[in-house]
């Protein structure tokens, strides 16, 4: 594959969110890297991780393997500053979770594009290309800031 190109960068204020070009993306801020046709490894983008920061708790609500609907609630994540429900990025089959994260979720912070992967998903859904994902970030950035501000104030 042609993953030779440099990663894209999205500026979150001063922070550079790195968007590698060797994978595809979902609109809910996950990356999907093809392991074999239609089988993807899934993880948080650096944009997600920047907003979450130091994750200390991750819990899955479903057991692998299982079939998923788009936007199905599949788990919870919590950091010292944020929490979120986690939703499936696409319709498909969740094949396995990254078991290591359940004991220690820190790789999510330290290596979100590598050992911090979340789960493997079999899907034929069409995802965003890196440039499309960056455009999606661009488009949503103001809204995201408003949402964050709304919650901080």
């Amino acid at each position: 594959m042609n993953d030779a190109s440099d990663p894209l960068i999205f500026m979150m204020g001063q922070y550079e969110a790195i968007i590698p070009q060797d994978r595809v993306y979902s609109s809910n801020h996950l990356w999907l890297k093809e392991l074999e046709p239609d089988l993807f490894r899934v993880g948080f983008t650096s944009y997600s991780v920047r907003l979450l920061q130091d994750v200390y708790f991750l819990e899955w609500r479903v057991e692998a393997p299982t079939s998923l609907r788009l936007k199905q609630e599949i788990g919870e994540i919590e950091s010292s500053k944020a929490l979120s429900t986690l939703y499936s990025p696409a319709e498909g089959e969740l094949v396995q979770f990254n078991e290591h994260l359940l004991d220690d979720p820190t790789p999510i912070n330290t290596d979100c594009y590598g050992t911090g992967w979340l789960y493997d998903l079999r899907t034929s859904a069409i995802m965003k290309r890196p440039s499309e994902y960056v455009a999606h970030l661009d488009e949503g950035w103001e809204k995201t800031q408003n949402m964050l501000k709304g919650q901080i104030n």
Binding site: M11, M12, G13, Q14, Y15, S27, N28, H29, L30, S48, L51, L52, Q53, K71, E76, E78, S80, K81, A82, L83, S84, T85, L86, Y87, S88, P89, G140, W141, E142, K143, T144, Q145, N146, M147, L148, K149, G150, Q151, I152
Partner: protein, 371 residues
């Protein structure tokens, strides 16, 4: 000489949660042997219907008490208030860690309507999720015991006796009057002492086993879902009653907002808590701490990113509208979107504020907050 016994009530976890059950039993067993304490076990506070004997028992308590339960203290306190079990919020030192410099800022709106008919006693609500170590609860209860007995020098609480035979005055009071005249159950006779654990009976091999058996004899109760109003925040603005289309809210004879038909509320729906301008509406079982009644400063610091990760892109009010529409649809009714029951400030085109914000300013702000 020992002062008056302190009443400690444990509100049990929902369902059969083994870890929670074990902690309840350990705490109860330790307290059972404690001469300073009278300990009772009631079903999950939030799930008991208004005429449940467990609530009748709680209403019969006239003095100060400690309530241990599986919710945020604020949620416990206002659930009690809703059941006419009132008192000052006793200050407990056993609370969730609050982040460094964010000290408890007590900025209750001055227009808040407050509770009514508040007797002069303290109710100490403690969240059993704070620690898994029973000893911490025991120590805190001893601290409260000392605190209350110091206050007794100035205050007199009725005529509770501390004799040998009667475990405490509450039981006498309860069984003599059935504690029920006020709630339309005068026909029934309750033995309110059923909730009080009696050390005399527990010379069996293990107090914990005894307690487990005691719990097993209590019939399970169904789970409920309804809003609980925090009157220390509520300003009686009526936005919730306008918003909810399921007839949950009403007003009392003083025109104060009240949750009138709790079982009309839609399970899992927290919609009205999102439109309340004072964050006064608590759903104790909701997963978001701010909605479940965490103290403002704890809740305020955790940012809910669910919208970002696929929940929806809406702001709180949009979300509330969607949640409400979903429930209307489930009821076979017409969806109403934002056309019904929203205060004007939500419907006039928003977002003129904030758009001038510099990205960098925001990130700096986030950085300073450590997000």
């Amino acid at each position: 000489m020992a002062g008056k016994k302190l009443t400690v009530v444990i509100s049990q976890a929902q369902g059969k949660h083994p870890v929670r059950s074990k902690l309840e039993e350990e705490v109860a067993a330790a307290l059972l042997m404690d001469p300073q304490v009278s300990v009772s076990l009631v079903p999950h506070l939030y799930d008991m219907s208004a005429d449940h004997t467990g609530l009748v028992f709680l209403r019969s308590l006239k003095g100060p008490f400690v309530l241990l339960g599986w919710q945020y203290p604020r949620a416990l306190h206002w659930t009690l208030d809703r059941q006419q079990i009132r008192g000052h919020m006793g200050i407990t030192e056993l609370i969730e860690e609050i982040d460094d410099d964010e000290e408890a800022i007590d900025d209750q709106p001055s227009q808040a309507i407050g509770s009514t008919e508040m007797p002069n006693r303290n109710i100490y609500c403690i969240d059993l999720r704070v620690s898994s170590n029973p000893q911490e609860y025991i120590e805190e209860i001893h601290r409260i015991y000392e605190e209350e007995n110091q206050q007794l020098v100035q205050l007199t609480f009725g005529s509770l006796t501390n004799g040998n035979g009667s475990s405490n005055g509450v039981a006498q009071n309860g069984s003599a009057t059935n504690g029920s005249s006020s709630n339309g159950n005068s026909g029934l006779t309750f033995d309110l002492t059923q909730y009080i654990l009696n050390p005399a009976e527990s010379d069996t091999p293990s107090a914990k086993e005894e307690i487990a058996q005691f719990k097993a004899t209590q019939p399970p109760i169904k789970r409920r879902w309804y809003p609980v109003i925090d009157y220390s925040r509520c300003t009686n603005c009526m936005e919730c009653i306008d918003f909810c289309l399921f007839g949950v809210y009403g007003v009392d004879n003083l025109d104060r907002i009240l949750v009138e038909e709790q079982d009309n509320c839609k399970k899992g729906c927290p919609a009205c808590s999102r439109v309340c301008p004072e964050n006064a509406i608590i759903f104790p079982g909701h997963k978001t701490p701010a909605i479940a009644g965490a103290e403002g400063e704890v809740a305020g610091l955790k940012i809910d990113l669910s919208k970002l990760f696929g929940g929806s892109d809406d702001d709180a009010v949009d979300l509330a509208i969607r949640e409400r529409d979903a429930e209307l649809m489930a009821d076979g009714r017409e969806m109403v979107g934002k056309s019904v029951g929203l205060a004007e400030r939500h419907t006039t085109s928003s977002r003129c504020r904030g758009e001038r914000d510099e990205l960098d300013d925001l990130m700096d702000e986030l950085d300073s907050l450590g997000i």
